[in-house]
């Protein structure tokens, strides 16, 4: 029997037949605490390999380290669902010879499954591995809970390397990724910094604007008629979104409702609702805090799901399609309800879809929560700088100063008006914002394309240009 343990990342890469031009994939469950992308690319560079595409489900400030490898030609392409920090800035400045490919969390596994994103070597940041090469995210010093985003990579990549700092002598309690998809295991001192991996606790906002938005958002859900037994819900970890969960919980208790599933990046507020019996299940592609890591390790109703199950539109169903409501943020939202969370209004890359356009497309009720103005810039704009999520999939914008309903959703607008919510036209919100900030100067970009924005279904919907 082939023993999988390799002495070093270098050995494992050699065994995988690493060569120039390959695509290496990574995942982002260790978020800004991730050591694995950087240390692997250091090993690639030391081997003298060039022209690598790094396909990582998200990239964070910690990945600033990759800039050196881009400069030296080791990395020539990036493929990601989200990027922020110095690496994103460098990419906007035009450092990469090829444009970065932006996908969504559902579009990425679709591209992997269909072969348009072909992975030569998938590298798993593995919080715990047993002697056979089974992997779990729920144990070890770098425990992060779900490993959902990397599961499709391990099923389709030619080779799979697990990098771990915790070898379980006995068997695993839970298996995230079975050993039969793993070629090699490498043990290193540390795969991540726990401080950057999960938040010890995410605390609720006291910002009155965020609280006002959260109250309005939950009022929209209540008025929509969708809040009934079986209600399925996703929200993010932003201030208004988290606060809205609290208001949702209060409503569900008062209405004696029993929901279906909670979805998405998971926080303790969702875990508490599961444990209280307000929902049947959590379907979890990523844990955001220690409470959710602990929950997925012991509660069988807290189910780890792959990115395929979460949001791949090429499958026979995905969890986002069953959402009754989702709360999502926006950097910009325009008069056609198109949303940008990929760049700022100056065209600088500051994020990406993640699951944004997936959840928006799937949910019955897609609510964008955003303040009217942020950093002296209007959030409601005439036209988005970059298109992340098409307006046709957005139902309502909730701000602290009013609620705008997509004109295509007349019935929803009527319900909100009947509930005496402060409904207005999105043009009114735009006007209010511009009166507060002044008309922003139009964004002027250079000619070089630094990013390609692929919608979840594989269509290219926008390009990102180098700063002028």
């Amino acid at each position: 029997m082939k023993r999988k343990h390799m002495a070093s990342i270098t050995d494992a890469l050699r065994q995988c037949g690493l060569k120039d031009g390959m695509t290496l994939s990574f995942h982002h469950h260790l978020r800004n605490g991730d050591h694995v992308v950087n240390m692997t690319m250091d090993a690639v560079a030391a081997l003298g390999i060039k022209d690598i595409t790094v396909a990582c489900s998200s990239l964070f400030p910690v990945h600033e380290h990759l800039i050196g490898h881009i400069r030296s030609g080791v990395i020539t392409g990036l493929d990601t669902d989200y990027m922020s920090g110095p690496l994103a800035k460098a990419v906007t400045d035009g450092i990469l010879p090829r444009p970065v490919m932006f996908r969504s969390h559902g579009g990425r596994p679709r591209a992997i499954g269909q072969g348009s994103l072909k992975i030569d070597i998938a590298v798993v940041a593995a919080p715990a591995v047993d002697g056979m090469g089974n992997i779990t995210g729920t144990e070890g010093p770098s425990a992060c809970g779900s490993l959902g985003y990397v599961i499709p990579d391990t099923q389709h990549a030619t080779k799979v390397i697990a990098i771990t700092d915790h070898v379980v002598e006995g068997g695993l309690h839970r298996v995230s990724i079975p050993h039969d998809v793993v070629d090699h295991v490498v043990v290193v001192d540390s795969i991540g910094d726990p401080v950057g991996i999960v938040s010890g606790s995410i605390s609720l906002t006291r910002d009155p604007v965020a609280l006002a938005i959260a109250r309005n958002a939950q009022a929209v859900i209540r008025a929509s008629g969708l809040l009934r037994d079986g209600f399925c819900y996703q929200t993010g970890a932003g201030g208004a979104s988290l606060a809205a969960s609290i208001f949702l919980r209060e409503d569900m208790r008062a209405m004696k409702l029993h929901g279906g599933f909670l979805l998405g990046g998971i926080t303790k507020y969702m875990v508490e609702m599961l444990e209280e019996g307000l929902f049947d299940n959590i379907f979890d592609v990523q844990c955001f805090d220690l409470d959710s890591v602990r929950s997925i390790a012991r509660n069988p109703r807290h189910v780890e799901i792959s990115a395929d199950t979460y949001a791949n539109p090429g499958r026979k169903g995905n969890c986002v399609d069953y959402l009754d409501a989702v709360l999502l943020g926006a950097t910009e939202i325009d008069l056609n309800f198109n949303v940008n969370v990929t760049t700022d209004s100056n065209g600088k890359i500051i994020g990406g879809s993640g699951g944004h356009n997936d959840a928006a497309a799937g949910a019955n009720l897609t609510i964008i929560v955003a303040p009217l103005v942020r950093a002296r810039l209007p959030i409601v704009v005439e036209k988005c700088t970059t298109l992340t999520t098409p307006g046709s999939t957005v139902d309502v914008l909730v701000t602290e100063r009013g609620i705008a309903v997509n004109p295509a959703r007349k019935e929803l607008a009527d319900r909100l008006c009947d509930a005496q919510l402060p409904v207005c036209g999105i043009e009114d919100l735009h006007g209010q914002a511009v009166r507060m900030t002044g008309k922003p100067r139009p964004h002027e970009h250079g000619d070089d394309i630094v990013g390609i924005v692929e919608y979840r279904d594989g269509n290219i919907v926008d390009h990102i240009y180098a700063t002028k």
Copy 2:
């Protein structure tokens, strides 16, 4: 969003584009209590469809019902790992226009993954399904525990239908198969007869021959030097195999050992060893009794695995490769240690590899347990009537009258002799057997091929001929 629930199996088959010549796959977790294969093929017949290949991981006496569909041309091919009962007899008699393809439990998912067994429609006998189409084997009136053998089918088939008698209103506790691989869900009155699905309890044999074999088998394991911390073990549900587990448990307690995993079809004796802390994990492709169904539903160390993870030799590792020891039965074992569990000595189909040749190939120590004589026929023969498991993968034969070691395993023979076990040549056992039974008449078969035996790696290693 597409609703998956269909009013009838007929509707679901139509939606899947059923047509002449297709391959429909099924699985055998409901064993001799299965209703799903028969009712599905009735629906296929009622639609006037012909020339179907039924690829079912195992077929039991209950599937006698299919004989009519073979006679009428609805079914023209079978692809299975094991078959017994009237259908097996009819196939031996030459009822099928095309030979049945015999595979192993690991060879089947290899063939599915590589595309040599192409499945048009996979039909899942689903003990419980939720509103989205997630499936679990652990709940409902026909709960059978693991659904491991059908997982590869659901990942590769063009279409997947789940047939269930238990729709869970709330969410599932455990998900065996996620909804994103399921096209349609059909609710029927009953998918199976619990009496035939799992044994309420499997009781230990009092047969002195079986107990003598079991004692010898455990003595071989003890003497082999493999019984140490981390020991991984598979055994079947036959009398000698189950009894050997009891002796293994006694040895492990006495030696204060802590094992790795238990594998295979699972019984309460394995569950008890897990719960006692003698092993870290159970890796389960199939539950054999109610105790194991209850265990897999609540114990996270009792892990459901797919047939890929269990034994697919085309993967990057499989559980059988990590076995220290396996106990397997035999209908015949010949002087080269080749084993037949596919036909009897008259060439009649009475079984098939199941996981036999997979576990034999993987384990460090493959022990065949068999009485010297069964039904007045010798078990040790000059040459197997049909080859299921090559002698090169068999280490030792344990009978009630002596232990024969494969000559290629000289070191093992020395260990057993040192332990003063009754080691002899396999020729001696053959001689003893023949002296008891008389020399059996050589099997004479007809010319028509009714079965093809594929080894787990895809090589054709034998043929089965119609009775003369």
